[in-house]
Point group: C2
Chain length 195, copies 2
DNA sequence: CCATTTGTTGAATATTCGTTCAAAATGGCG
DNA sequence: CGCCATTTTGAACGAATATTCAACAAATGG
């Protein structure tokens, strides 16, 4: 009964994500989004409402993907500590190689927008909680398997781990030397296994 | 032989700092700065060149103050671990009480501006190095005094500590519950003392 | 093949922002 | 006091920005 959209929504979101991730929210202009997505302003506004609408959908896709990645670790047959080490090592490698120095979109957005976009902040808080819970499950599994001593509660260790993850996401934007980053990873894993 | 400036530069910088800290760089308008400092646009531009000039001076003041605070810890007669715990506890209290949920100006600025303001990023990297070195000294002192075992190098432990500090500066913008934050602080101190 | 509904186009719009500048004000000094 | 260098004032300017809209195009159903 009507004309069909010419674009693939997921593709558009993915391309917008790349721009927002690299340039941040404020420094990304609608013109940037038009160039990156191939959509004209009118189509963009028809599909997403406004710039913030695009960003919210981008953020949702990013967070979902990240969270799934963490949750998959719990299903991984290898020891949990191995999975965590691999996760952290990947960040180090991506940073040192220059493959990814843009940090975490969610962390970047939280620091940039927490003050004047309360709804964005609320979503990011919720995401943070979910990440923490996912790690707590992973740690509980590791404690059950004897990899981590059950001295500390999974919640507490998860909060500690997430804190370090966010710290690394800050550092990889500004001080990307391998030595410091591996020292950090070693410190985290020592803390988890000796706790 | 000429007219004298009517404002106190340090006061103006301090007031501009409050605005930039709360709102971030992009979201702070020159109109905001005019309102906060009491200076008219012309005076502001005569004194600082432009908006970025104001911000650079603000950042310098903030970083110098923070760095001095850390360096003072090395001269504190009490055990280094006590000083570190106090530093971290202060962050927790300021966050939970709502006294300071704006995190760290330097971290916020790094994430917001690293991409498109290379000179800002360079200054922040240098600051980061100085902070790390200051903590390394503090830790070396603690190792010499037997508070921390000399198993790990001071550099490595300092990198780990700074990573957690930045992580806390992220978290205090988005997930300010006391339980998580004290869990993080406990994790940090356990890691430092048992390493 | 027409009517209708929806998507696309891209120039236009209104607003906001950083910055400038000419005129007025101020204070030190001969 | 009168000269002059400097600061202050605040309206004005141009550039950039997010958003809109009227004209056009495509697809569907009868």
């Amino acid at each position: 009964m009507s004309r069909m959209p010419e674009f693939n929504r997921a593709e558009v979101v993915e391309r917008a994500l790349q721009v927002f991730w690299r340039r941040g929210y404020s420094q990304t202009t609608v013109t940037d989004l038009v160039a990156a997505t191939g959509l004209q302003p009118g189509s963009l506004y028809a599909a997403f409402g406004n710039k913030k609408g695009v960003f919210l959908e981008v953020l949702e896709a990013y967070n979902r993907s990240f969270l799934e990645r963490i949750r998959h670790l719990t299903a991984d047959p290898r020891p949990a500590i191995t999975c965590i080490r691999e996760l952290l090592d990947t960040i180090v490698e991506d940073t040192v190689s220059g493959r990814n120095r843009q940090g975490c979109l969610a962390v970047n957005a939280l620091l940039e927008l927490a003050e004047h976009e309360p709804d964005v902040a609320a979503r990011l808080e919720a995401h943070n909680d979910q990440v923490r819970r996912a790690f707590a499950e992973l740690i509980a599994k590791a404690q059950a398997g004897g990899e981590i001593r059950p001295t500390s509660r999974p919640d507490a260790l998860a909060a500690f781990l997430v804190n370090n993850l966010w710290g690394m996401r800050v550092m990889c934007r500004g001080c990307a030397d391998r030595e410091s980053m591996t020292a950090v990873v070693d410190g985290i894993l020592d803390a988890l296994t000796h706790a």
